[in-house]
Amino acid sequence: MSVADYTAKRSVRLGGLALIALIALAGIAVLLFDIPLDRIFTVGFVNRTLVGASPIALAAIGGLYAEKSGVFNIGLEGFMIFGAITAAAVMYGMGGTSPSQPHIWLSIAIAVAFTLALTVLYAVLLIRYKADQIVAGLAIWFMGLGFAPFAASLLWDTVRSPGLASINNYAVPYLQDIPYIGTIVFNQSPLVLFTVIVVVVSWVFLYRTQYGYWIQAAGDNPKALDTAGVDVNRVRYATVIFSGAMAGLGGAVLLAHAGDFVGTGETMVDGRGWIAIVAYLFGNYNPLGAAGAALLFSGLDMLQVQFQTTDITFFGRDISARLIGLAPYIGVIIVLTVWGKTRMPSSVGEPYEKEE
């Protein structure tokens, strides 16, 4: 059985299992608690899920590229925080508390450029100076948790930004009036559409181009790639820098949807970078699978909004939003336990040294 067959079968199996599990859960929920499903799975729910999934999917694709090439970028969460604060700061710098739509786009671009520059330094530490990938990644998280609120305090005297602005939906005339599909597809955040394009393009790039094969070889068999005359470390530099930029983009997209920066607690990124890592593990390093997992986690997360608006109670008690908000984290643990042994690229974590 070839590798392609294996992954194809595996993803079908995983997808099928996930679907069955969801349907079973929903069935149990409906029977046991008399939950109005039609009031939970609304168009608004689908939209919120898509908006919530895009930052996770973007960061996940970056992370999976890096890991495919043999470098575990565990700093995704930190780079997302840097992306979010940079976008907020630039937006505020250009338009104060009422930035225009072009300002938002420009600030996303600058946030990506900034996190890209940061990741260049990070990649040099990881690849040239063989830094411990786990520890260095955690360090990026700590730095994000420290420097982002620090920057916010300098700018706004508190760790929270004032309300800035969020991105406007595009609306296609006439088509947006189609029931259900209209509001989901034709009256949507452009960043969601953009994410969909990125997901598809990164799948094609990884599995259908020469360079994509190099990336896979850099992680699975660096020696062979080296023998074929391709510089392994160069490939790894490219993917690590790409992964940081993508996480920065994810953070900026998160900010552009939220409209203000929150630096309290674990900051507004609040674990999304970690969820992104799990999303690509769950998606078995496949961009489409990772995006699907991001959708699943985001959907779990958004359920809390639905539960609140529909006043659903369990055994006569209100369900606290804080408890429902834990669903994605619990889901991640279950997912990891059931599919813990994902097929990792075999050289992840090892610096590659050319034998002279």
Binding site: I74, V135, M143, G146, R322, G325, Y329, V332, L336, G340
Partner: protein, 377 residues
């Protein structure tokens, strides 16, 4: 030493491990000091770049941590917690398991010991005797619940292959969420203005022997140091510690000499979680006197990762590293008031320290370029 039964093989490994440790101990200290200095230097540059006086900032750091008896006792208060949390992390890292979940384990340990002490208090006499029993109970409960909360991801890793880095981080979020919900709802007394549990009984607390700081007692520090001593003895002088370290660094060797590596992972995470639980109990007993919303607790569990790494995961090295971090934390409010630099900068500097500790090659290169310590090759 237990070199009786498996014989020569162990002896050889022992010798090799000791050789390696001694040869690199100086280098590791050099890397730790170098990382800290480099991170502080970058911190000072940032301070200057945002328009504050870096010299004032450096002076405030020192004065805020050691400048008065109050400052110093506050430094020791943080140091106590960092020592315990740092040892919790070090035990796991030493054995090759990444316990990023110390924060969650300390939260679970802290809340359960607080509740145990509050619930059991009415059936015990009020005086000092009852207090001592309650404290011991609190510490035991914290160790048990923290240990269980650590054993869980350990078992998931050992038997289901679930990555412990991710599961422990998820369990942190879960502990923060559940305990946060509980202290704001079912556990919150009606008269509490802030989000917290009821107060611990009056007779629960460490005696003030040296400093007059209601949030610090030398007894707490002594307890932390005792844990350090016990852990380093267990790690270096018992077969359990030996098995833990070999299964971390020499997995095939450990398996050949009959160590059940799966059980060892669970054991390691349990011990690590038990110590993490103690942090929560000491936090409740010594510092707060009740338990609060976990989002309001400092990031001891995360900073402890930095503490442990700075100490090269050596339990004894954790003590000076914890003192450094305690000092940084202690001076943060002083710094903000006196130099106007936002305190979060200090968290960022901590991140930089960790980043540099992760890259020993960088310092080897610097050492070679500058000719310092260049004698090794």
């Amino acid at each position: 030493m237990s070199d009786a039964e498996p014989g020569r093989f162990r002896g050889v490994l022992d010798w090799a491990a000791n050789r390696m440790l001694n040869a690199t101990v100086l280098e590791r200290i050099g890397i730790a000091v170098g990382s800290t200095l480099l991170a502080l230097a970058i911190g000072l540059i940032i301070v200057a770049a945002v328009g504050h006086d870096p010299f004032q900032f450096a002076r405030d750091l020192a004065v805020g941590a050691f400048g008065s008896q109050r400052a110093f006792s506050r430094t020791l208060q943080f140091t106590t917690l960092f020592i315990l949390a740092g040892v919790a992390v070090a035990v796991a890292f030493r054995a090759g398991v990444f316990n990023i979940g110390v924060q969650g384990q300390l939260i679970i340990g802290g809340i359960s010991s607080t509740l145990a002490m509050i619930w059991v208090a009415p059936i015990l006499p009020n005086g000092t005797g009852g207090g001592i029993v309650l404290i011991i109970l609190g510490l035991v409960v914290a160790a048990v619940t923290g240990g269980l909360y650590g054993a869980f991801p350990g078992a998931l890793k050992a038997y289901y292959g679930a990555n412990e880095i991710i599961t422990t981080i998820m369990l942190n979020f879960i502990a923060i969420g559940i305990v946060g919900w509980a202290v704001d709802g079912p556990l919150r007394p009606d008269d509490a203005r802030s989000v917290r549990t009821a107060y611990l009984p009056d007779n629960v607390g460490f005696p003030q022997l040296v400093f007059e700081n209601p949030n610090f007692s030398i007894v707490g520090l002594a307890l932390a140091i005792a844990v350090v001593v016990i852990v380093s003895i267990v790690m270096t002088r018992t077969s359990l510690g030996y098995d833990m370290v070999t299964s971390g660094y020499q997995q095939p060797a450990a398996t050949f000499s009959g160590v059940a590596s799966k059980r060892m992972i669970v054991m390691t995470m349990t011990i690590s979680g038990m110590i993490a639980g103690l942090v929560g109990a000491v936090f409740a007993i010594m510092v707060q006197g009740y338990f609060i919303d976990p989002t309001g607790i400092g990031n001891y569990g995360f900073d402890a990762i930095a503490v442990s790494l700075l100490a090269a995961n050596n339990p004894l090295g954790v003590v000076p590293a914890a003192l450094l971090f305690g000092a940084l934390d202690s001076s943060s409010s002083y710094v903000q008031i006196h130099s106007g630099v936002p305190v979060q900068l200090i968290d960022g500097i901590v991140g930089l320290v960790v980043l540099f500790v992760a890259a020993p090659e960088l310092f080897r290169m610097i050492a070679q370029r500058t000719g310092l310590g260049g004698e090794d090759k």
